[in-house]
């Protein structure tokens, strides 16, 4: 069971994540978009969207810090364990609260505004449910366990397991002992990655940073074939006339 959950599932999800993106990129450039609905509703979005996105940046950065940077590295750099913990918990809580507030506003917006509701696709709904579940689990782990509770040092277990997945020597034993909420969040995280390429989240990979260096006006040569010139209107008219005039045989 441990093998299936902590070894097979992560690799399966990562394979879907990578393969799904390749498939979508090659197959569906036209659908690769933020799918903006600001045209239809902008009052709630103006608050909710920046909150959600900035919160998400913080959360993603926090996860990268916690999961990818080994405790030995921060210790070697001279960051005391206590300082690290404070930063992680409070930074994570602030980013998480922003994310939650933004997400609540954005989901509410989908239901309050009939116009936006109409443009919401089934995949959007799946995505919102998945996002909400992930955020609830993550916030429970951060706030209930680490901020209010006794705390749990995920850097010695979960982070090591997470990195071991990418070294192709997954250590499922480390996850077996983790608290349930962390286990669920980790499983959910990988499932979420598998969902990613099939949702509007693909717009993340198109973050337009190249815009900062690009010349303003883009020129492009016309591609593709030159269409054959259609007949001149006069020719069409004359052809029709001739047909009409000619006696039925």
């Amino acid at each position: 069971m441990n093998t299936v959950i902590w070894i097979v599932l992560p690799y399966l999800c990562l394979a879907v994540f990578v393969g799904g993106h390749v498939w979508r990129w090659r197959r569906d450039q036209f659908g690769w978009t933020t799918h903006t609905s600001q045209l239809l509703e902008s009052r709630i979005l103006r608050l909710g969207s920046p909150l959600f996105h900035l919160g998400a940046f913080g959360v993603i950065g926090g996860h990268a810090m916690g999961l990818l940077v080994p405790a030995s590295v921060t210790a070697a750099v001279g960051i005391p364990e206590h300082l690290y913990h404070l930063t992680a918990v409070w930074g994570g809580t602030v980013a998480g609260v922003m994310l939650v507030a933004g997400l609540v506003l954005l989901i509410a917006r989908r239901f309050v505004n009939g116009r936006v509701l109409r443009t919401t696709t089934p995949m959007d709904k799946v995505l919102y449910v998945a996002l909400a579940a992930m955020v609830v689990l993550g916030m429970t782990a951060t706030v209930a366990v680490n901020l209010l509770g006794d705390g749990y040092d995920y850097r010695e277990t979960i982070a090591v397991w997470f990195r071991s997945v990418f070294w192709f020597s997954p250590r499922s034993d480390l996850m077996a002992g983790a608290p349930l909420v962390y286990q669920l969040h980790a499983i959910g995280g990988f499932l979420f990655l598998a969902l990613w390429p099939f949702t509007r989240l693909v717009h993340v990979w198109s973050a337009p940073l190249a815009y900062l260096w690009r010349p303003y006006v883009v020129y492009r040569a016309r591609r593709g074939s030159v269409p054959a010139a259609p007949p001149a209107p006069a020719a069409v008219r004359d052809a029709t006339t001739r047909r009409n005039v000619s006696p039925a045989s």
Partner: protein
């Protein structure tokens, strides 16, 4: 010097009767799809009026187009690159659908399926195309048609609020005291397009061969910065696909040497299509001149004279086929803009160097001359009337010359002089040399200008060379595969959108 060609348009507003045929045929061709119900690549506005979308000309509110920064450098009015990216999560300058209008549809079934023997006639009711709910139709793309609602709103026309106060005071919205004319609008296919410059993903581009500005539907990621950056609000969000769409200048037709749908079906025959040669390297400097009122001349200076042998040779060296060089020489657009100098750009102060120009309307002028008890055939009387109008020339100046009333009046005088000259020539058989001198044109020029404006033969209005490709392989591909339409991509105008998406 880097010579490029642009397929440009001129509209003769004197002839526009506001029939909306251009809008309707354009909509049938391009935007009769889910997600683009509210989109009019071509719309016809009544001026004065607040326009479509509402107040789009008020750049203090929408921050469209360009401006000069403190050091005289050209910057997008909505801010530089970094600022734009910080606003990508919520664009503060984006119009909402209510600034355009809520599109409606009608439950026409009720007319067919109503039971017999009713005392009352069944009535079809409007339903929102966005929510499906019953709705009241309270605004539309041509709501102000024929000055509809002008007594309530038209004084908030941004062109009136910007006018000098004493001129604005002359504008009346009472019956028999007011004035109006129609303004058909499409994408300006600018030389210095703000939409292209604001597109974060680089999906928008200006075509090297013919200057047409397009959105690459496969590369658009829906950042919607083009919509707010365009000061003419001629880029739209398709709310079904989440991508930007805009007037394509009917490029499949232009490539085949045919006029755009709006031009082809124009009842008043007021549109002209032709090439303008321009120097791409001169564009930035022209858009950056300090005084807004110099922008008109600066843009004219970017254009190259197709009769100049040096220009023609440079065009050939740039890879332009002979057919294009010849077409540039015969271009009606070049003649109206640069030879006769009677066409003016719409809102040059936006600094985008627009490429759809307008011959301003003279008709209200001659009416006014008659109403003032003056002789509308007498040049002096007409010239005086032009500066003494119920329709203030200052209003036209706000639209076409960045507020320079003398420049706008100069064009009207040319048009008035042409009419007086032709009347004397046709009725009396005399040549009114003083009229020609007053506008600095030769008899030959005025008569050919008259022919182009008044007779306006199809072949003279539209001088469009067929597309060429510098890529020989593409030409061969064409020979191998005739037919095949470049618009048959998923969700494009060639396919119904329902086929391409799973939606609830």
């Amino acid at each position: 010097m880097r010579i490029r060609a642009q397929v440009a348009m001129v509209m003769n507003l004197d002839k526009c009767i506001g029939c909306h045929t251009c809008s309707v045929t354009c909509k049938q061709t391009w935007t009769n799809r889910e997600g683009t119900e509210y989109v009019w690549f071509n719309n016809v506005e009544t001026k004065p009026g607040i326009g479509y979308p509402k107040h789009y000309e008020d750049q203090d509110r929408w921050h469209g187009g360009w401006q000069l920064d403190g050091r005289g450098r050209l910057t997008l009015r909505s801010g530089g690159r970094l600022k734009r990216l910080t606003r990508i999560f919520a664009n503060p300058d984006l119009p909402s659908i209510d600034d355009y209008y809520e599109p409606a549809t009608f439950d026409k079934d009720i007319l067919v399926s109503a039971p017999g023997g009713l005392n009352d006639t069944p009535v079809k009711r409007p339903h929102s195309a966005l929510t499906g709910e019953p709705m009241a139709v309270e605004w539309g793309a041509n709501w102000e048609d024929g000055l509809g609602g002008a007594h309530e709103r038209a004084d908030r026309d941004p062109n009136i609020t910007r006018m000098p106060a004493e001129a604005a005071a002359k504008v009346r919205f009472e019956f028999e005291k007011t004035f109006m004319f129609h303004l058909p609008r499409i994408c300006e296919h600018c030389l210095n397009p703000a939409c292209v410059s604001a597109c974060p993903s680089g999906a928008m581009y200006k075509r090297e061969e013919d200057g047409i500005v397009l959105v690459d539907q496969n590369r658009c990621r829906g950042w919607r910065m083009c919509v707010s950056a365009c000061p003419y609000k001629k880029v739209y969000v398709n709310h079904a696909t989440g991508k930007a769409e805009k007037c394509t200048l009917c490029f499949p037709r232009i490539e085949a040497g045919q006029p755009t749908i709006c031009s082809e079906t124009c009842v008043g025959r007021l549109r002209y299509l032709g090439l303008v040669l321009y120097d791409e390297d001169a564009v930035l400097a022209a858009a950056s001149v300090r005084d807004e009122r110099d922008l008109l001349d600066a843009q004219r200076d970017v254009f190259c004279d197709p009769h100049d042998p040096a220009v023609r040779q440079a065009a050939r060296d740039a890879g332009m086929p002979e057919e294009w060089v010849e077409a540039a020489k015969r271009s009606p657009v070049w003649r109206l803009i640069s030879e006769y100098r009677i066409a003016l750009p719409l809102h040059p102060e936006y600094r985008t160097l627009p490429m759809v120009w307008y011959v301003p309307p003279l008709s209200p002028v001659l009416d006014a001359a008659g109403a003032a008890g003056r002789d509308d055939t007498d040049a002096d009387d007409v010239f005086h009337t032009i500066r003494d109008l119920r329709i203030p020339v200052e209003y036209l100046a706000e639209l076409f010359t960045a507020g320079d009333a003398d420049a706008a009046a100069g064009v009207l005088m040319k048009l008035a002089a042409m009419r007086s000259y032709m009347r004397a020539r046709t009725l009396d058989g005399t040549v009114a040399q003083d009229l020609l001198d007053s506008i600095g044109m030769t008899a030959e020029q005025v008569e050919s200008m008259y022919r182009l404006l008044a007779i306006a033969k199809y072949d003279e209005r539209y001088v469009i060379p067929t597309a060429y490709s510098k890529d020989a392989a593409a030409l061969e591909a064409q020979a191998a595969a005739p037919g095949g339409c470049s618009l048959d991509f998923e969700g494009g105008p060639g396919l119904p959108v329902d086929l391409t998406r799973g939606r609830s």
